[in-house]
Symmetry: C2
Subunit: 219 residues, 2 copies
């Protein structure tokens, strides 16, 4: 089984039994949401910024305006950490101490750089849209050269990565199971709501089949 080699940076120390390094588990958590937080450092100050991401093999991609402070600061070899997290529920125990949360989280570490070749950039954006909304790319107009120039696409090879996952109910101290309080899990579930037509949508245009059953409903 292929896996990321746990290092001083990526090794899960606290609750280490929740740590996973195999590609299958790490990639599954990374892929389970289109959104992430990216950490980076400017002049010693850490930042963590939410953004959309996508993955091909062991390469992660994110993008935005070429005017973005985050992207301008990352594009020439910045060290970054990209984290995808799902909070899946509150774990309600019989003591404050054993309250917890169920979650799936993956942290990936690497060095960011920009994709400067316009054809490669467009290919990466195409992959993003096909992964998110298969069929959308062909339904909308193409990018102009100017739009491509105004878009920065960053990528990083995953050098190290780990997933940390907690599932299941509370683990109480043995003597607490006789207490009279309720205990269990309150799940948190993310879903898609009913699509909202644009105010200027021409009459007769319906919500397309290719946007039904989108992946990534669990955010």
């Amino acid at each position: 089984m292929s896996e990321y080699h746990p290092t001083k940076i990526s090794k899960v120390k606290r609750a280490h039994e929740r740590g996973h390094y195999d590609h299958e588990t790490v990639h599954a958590v990374l892929d389970s949401s289109p959104f992430c937080h990216v950490a980076y450092v400017i002049d010693g100050q850490p930042y963590t910024t939410p953004t959309l991401k996508w993955r091909v093999g062991s390469t992660l991609f994110w993008h935005g305006s070429s005017a973005s402070k985050m992207l301008r600061n990352q594009k020439s070899g910045a060290r970054v950490c990209l984290t995808v997290t799902h909070f899946d529920g509150y774990v309600m125990a019989r003591s404050p101490f054993h309250h917890s949360a169920n979650y799936r989280s993956a942290m990936a570490f690497g060095t960011a750089h920009s994709i400067d070749d316009q054809a490669e950039k467009e290919a990466a954006l195409h992959v993003m849209m096909e992964q998110l909304f298969a069929g959308r790319w062909d339904d909308v107009r193409s990018n102009t050269d100017q739009e491509l120039k105004a878009t920065t696409v960053l990528c990083m090879e995953i050098e190290e990565a780990a997933a940390k996952i907690r599932t299941g109910g509370p683990i109480d101290d043995e003597e607490d199971y006789d207490l009279g309080c309720w205990a269990g899990v309150i799940p948190i579930v993310a879903t898609f709501g009913t699509p909202i037509d644009d105010d200027r949508l021409a009459s007769g245009i319906e919500y397309p089949d290719y946007l039904k059953g989108l992946p990534g409903t669990s955010l």
Copy 2:
């Protein structure tokens, strides 16, 4: 109106019209989810770690095991960035370039330190539980001294902060409104699922009224 003073660090540059600095807006976004990502730096490597947070005035708190690498590295004055994010929907435009996301995000910057006095620590944990699950603290057993020692609570004064918010439908180029593709917003909604009783819950214990109608359903 009280507000955080925008600086080189916190000022929203890209899409600056989406930036907010007033306490009311920033605190509302910070409070709208119990979860956040905290960024910090160890040996030049940035990390962003998901955790639970709470707020009293302009002080943010987070906590965990005293064995946590993150907390041990932050507790003595580390610079941190704490970000709360909601992805509220996909914004589907008529060109790839104008696709976007609706979101609410707040970034807060400051210096972390630990609360070492045991009584202050317990008071902070009490506030957390009352904000999340009012009534729970009195329904479960108390913390032991050993449990309090095994818990690290960190806090930071918010030195700088900004919220960034996008709402509404796509903004397309004028000439694209005649294209025949669907455009609009696909909302993303987080809700609580049906509570799951612990496997070892004694018979006759029901889900308590004080846990019904929890705040923070929008994650």
